[in-house]
């Protein structure tokens, strides 16, 4: 059979049920194979949209996302999503067409050195040099993408090789002698970690996206509740530990705040989370990488703490902060073993009483807050709280990058993993809308909302056409303040309030834009009806784009100014009068 038909068989064998992509000259044979290949293909409007959709699909489902593009510009348009997937460890396989082998290296039409361009941003890549290599390369690509620390893998297939006839036999073995991720965790180290935790007076669990990737949220919760460990999550880890629990509390859906939850940590994290890190004597990092947005000034990060660092990628351990007890392994395996070891010790929970009274003091004194409007004006923070109410906290939420992303992370109390999909490492504006599209395709039963910025959404708004054509019912809520808001905030705070090229004006008219794309457009401007309006938008069939007009100049607080220590958090103003005692 043709190599491309074998490619379809391989994709099916890997359980692929959808591919996002766009055809071109160099992958014409591949697209011919889609005609009767038995795999759903969603035609996107820009390859970057397809790449982010594959990421959204992967993050929502935990399966490998797949995107196709042609050679040259098709492949270079994938560079941003590939980098994004690398930074956030998203399992994706990207398959690109390449010019015919006889044209390679001749600057042929639509030729780009895709393998060379993407080498620094992939977990691995395969340049196909013989059609017989294709089946094995595809299976190895999927294995590498989803195992160990997940990441993007690229397969580049020259056009002539893809239409070659090959003797296809299903591949049953992988030949990757140099790739053997350690996932079990060293038992001795785990026991040592349990001992350290049992004697810690001021412990904190600091969980990252690795917990979500490893599907280890249940294990994390069991570990945290095996004693009364305080838990904070990174931006990527939100949902790995439930922010709310079943209870009598006043929130929609009868949930109440989880008493062990400190909120997100880092630059725009909560004061309780950052102060707890600052005063902790033992920090147990799980699937997190001590990013500069977490540590602030490195030399003053958690100065009293010893560190347990659990990560499947040994290169992350002691990269930024030296670990006292390193454990290389998959979070799910390691946490399950750690709970057993910890329970066997029978630590006295009462030793944490003093620590909890300190933390509860911070929680009471420094809740997340903002000056709400007295009239109908919609404050951006309120917009997120309204979205929580309108969805009962049960939606998958994607976001772009900027203030709206931070407010969503702060105010939408994620109760479960894989509900929060955003671009953390790379910080890719334009991520949210196509990621929502991918998530909605992967999880058709769940409400999928995108909280977008008015700046970000324009970077991949073309995918509204894809949503309209395929009736992908995403609900996009644009937090519209007419600014590149986060940049405006930094210019206000750190560059003497001189605004340089951050004013986006009232362009475009998003309701008209939605209608032009065949999508329902709405505009909300009134706080008093916002929750009901949002419910109405969510109940509307098909994709909906909502222009939510919010306060133009509102700052995201609290905040650790760049290069400062966690205990020097600032804002909002009501808190600045008081310092941590």
């Amino acid at each position: 059979m043709r190599a491309v038909d074998a490619l379809m068989e391989c994709l099916k064998a890997e359980g692929v049920d959808v591919v996002f992509g766009l055809p071109g000259g160099a992958n014409l044979p591949t697209y011919d194979a889609f005609v009767s290949g038995g795999i759903r293909h969603i035609l996107v409007r820009h390859e970057a949209g397809g790449g982010h959709a594959a990421e959204g699909y992967a993050k929502a489902t935990g399966k490998v996302g797949v995107a196709f593009a042609t050679s040259g510009p098709g492949a270079t348009n994938l560079v941003t999503p590939i980098t994004d997937a690398m930074m956030d460890s998203v399992p994706c396989v990207f398959i690109t067409g390449q010019v015919r082998t006889e044209l390679l290296g001749t600057d042929g039409f639509q030729e780009a050195d895709t393998i060379g361009i993407t080498m620094p941003i992939v977990k691995h890549s395969f340049m196909i040099q013989h059609p017989n290599e294709i089946p094995r390369a595809i299976h190895e690509a999927f294995h590498i993408a989803r195992s160990g620390r997940p990441g993007p893998v690229l397969v580049d297939i020259p056009q002539d090789l893809s239409r070659a006839e090959i003797d296809y036999e299903p591949v049953t073995d992988l030949r990757l002698p140099g790739y053997q991720p350690k996932i079990d965790g060293n038992q001795k180290q785990i026991r040592q970690a349990a001992k350290a935790l049992a004697s810690a007076q001021r412990p904190v669990i600091y969980a990252g996206g690795g917990v979500v990737n490893a599907n280890a949220a249940a294990e994390l919760t069991e570990f945290a509740t095996s004693d009364r460990f305080p838990v904070t999550c990174t931006l990527m880890g939100l949902g790995a530990f439930p922010a709310t629990v079943e209870g009598a509390g006043g929130r929609e859906g009868g949930r109440e705040p989880n008493p062990q939850w400190l909120g997100m940590l880092g630059m725009h994290g909560t004061r309780p989370a950052n102060y707890a890190m600052d005063e902790a004597d033992l920090i147990c990092a799980v699937g997190a990488r001590f990013d500069d947005r977490i540590t602030g000034k490195l030399s003053e990060f958690a100065p009293r703490a010893k560190f347990i660092h659990i990560d499947v990628d040994p290169a992350e351990i002691s990269k930024n902060v030296p670990a006292h007890i390193p454990i290389v392994g998959d979070a799910k395996n390691v946490l399950a073993k750690l709970v057993i070891e910890y329970r066997a010790i029978g630590a006295d929970p009462a030793r944490l009483d003093a620590w909890w009274s300190r933390i509860d003091g911070w929680k009471a004194k420094y809740p997340l807050l903002y000056d709400d409007s007295a009239d109908s004006e919609i404050k951006p923070q309120y917009m997120i709280q309204a979205l929580y109410e309108a969805t009962g906290g049960e939606a998958i939420i994607t976001s772009d990058v900027g203030q709206h992303q931070m407010w969503t992370a702060q105010y939408y109390d994620f109760p479960a993993p894989r509900r929060w999909i955003n671009s953390g490492g790379l910080g890719t504006m334009g991520f949210g809308l196509p990621a929502a599209m991918g998530a909605a395709v992967g999880e058709p039963e769940r409400v999928v909302c995108c909280v977008a910025g008015d700046g970000s959404v324009q970077m991949n708004a073309q995918e509204l056409a894809t949503c309209a054509q395929n009736n992908i019912p995403i609900k996009v809520f644009i937090m519209n303040n007419g600014y590149l808001g986060m940049v405006r905030q930094w210019q206000e705070l750190f560059w003497d309030g001189k605004y340089s090229h951050v004013d986006m004006g009232e362009f475009p008219d998003f309701v008209k834009l939605a209608e032009a794309y065949g999508v329902t457009g709405m505009r909300f401007t009134d706080k008093t009806t916002l929750v009901e309006d949002m419910k109405r938008a969510i109940a509307t069939d098909g994709p909906v784009l909502v222009d939510v007009r919010v306060t133009r100049e509102e700052n995201t607080y609290p905040m650790i100014p760049a290069g400062s220590a966690a205990r020097d958090m600032v804002g909002p103003q009501v808190h600045d009068q008081e310092r941590v005692g």
Binding site: I115, G116, M119, P120, K123, H124, M127, Q129, I144, L176, P177, G178, Y179, K297, D313, P314, A315, S318, K319, W490, L493, F494, W495, D496, P561, A562, G563, S564
Partner: protein, 189 residues
């Protein structure tokens, strides 16, 4: 170093001295890394690219076949003070085509490189030059009226010592292969 260095949030201008301070740290022990890799296209690019983007500086690099056709060996030397060697090897291990890495201890290793020196040798000087070559167990591989080419094999230190000796004669050109290294004793490198 300023706490704000590299942060977009501060408008404080950054002095050149401050910027350059971090690049003047090269003092550490040399590490010889012996890396077995799958003999596949692009492997060397992956290794070189990894070093470049992580800011690791390669001092010397040699690549060649091994006794196994499917496997090549890369021997490279890096400055251990400038880059945490642990981080270098961990990042290398993440490359799918890298099979094995050894950070060779100088005491347990036989290391050699080959160098060719093209030196000015007008009549009167030639005898003295030949004597120096002999002391270093060098071989004269080409002689013309005005120049000789000498081949020297040995450790980096020996080759550098030879270079110091012949430089006064007028060193026209020098070429070095970079070190290869093999562990002492029965066990495999």
């Amino acid at each position: 170093m300023s706490v704000f260095m590299g942060e977009p949030g501060t408008k404080a201008p950054l002095s050149l001295e401050e910027l350059e301070a971090s690049t003047n740290l090269r003092t550490g022990r040399k590490h010889v890394l012996s890396i077995l890799v799958e003999n596949k296209s692009g492997v060397l690019t992956r290794i070189a690219g990894l070093f470049a983007r992580r800011g690791f500086n390669i001092d010397t690099l040699t690549v060649g076949p091994t006794e196994d056709m499917q496997v090549s060996r890369v021997t490279l030397t890096v400055d251990g003070a400038l880059h945490p060697i642990d981080q270098v090897t961990k990042q290398l291990h993440k490359l799918v085509n890298v099979l094995k890495i050894r950070d060779l201890e100088p005491g347990d290793t036989v290391a050699r490189e080959l160098a060719l020196f093209k030196v000015n040798a007008d009549g009167a000087q030639r005898g003295e030059l030949m004597q120096i070559a002999e002391i270093f167990r060098g071989k004269v591989v080409d002689v013309t009226k005005r120049a000789v080419i000498i081949e020297v094999t040995g450790t980096t230190e020996k080759i550098e010592a030879f270079e110091t000796m012949v430089r006064p004669f007028g060193l026209i050109e020098m070429m070095r292969t970079g070190e290869i290294a093999i562990s002492r004793g029965r066990s495999e490198t």
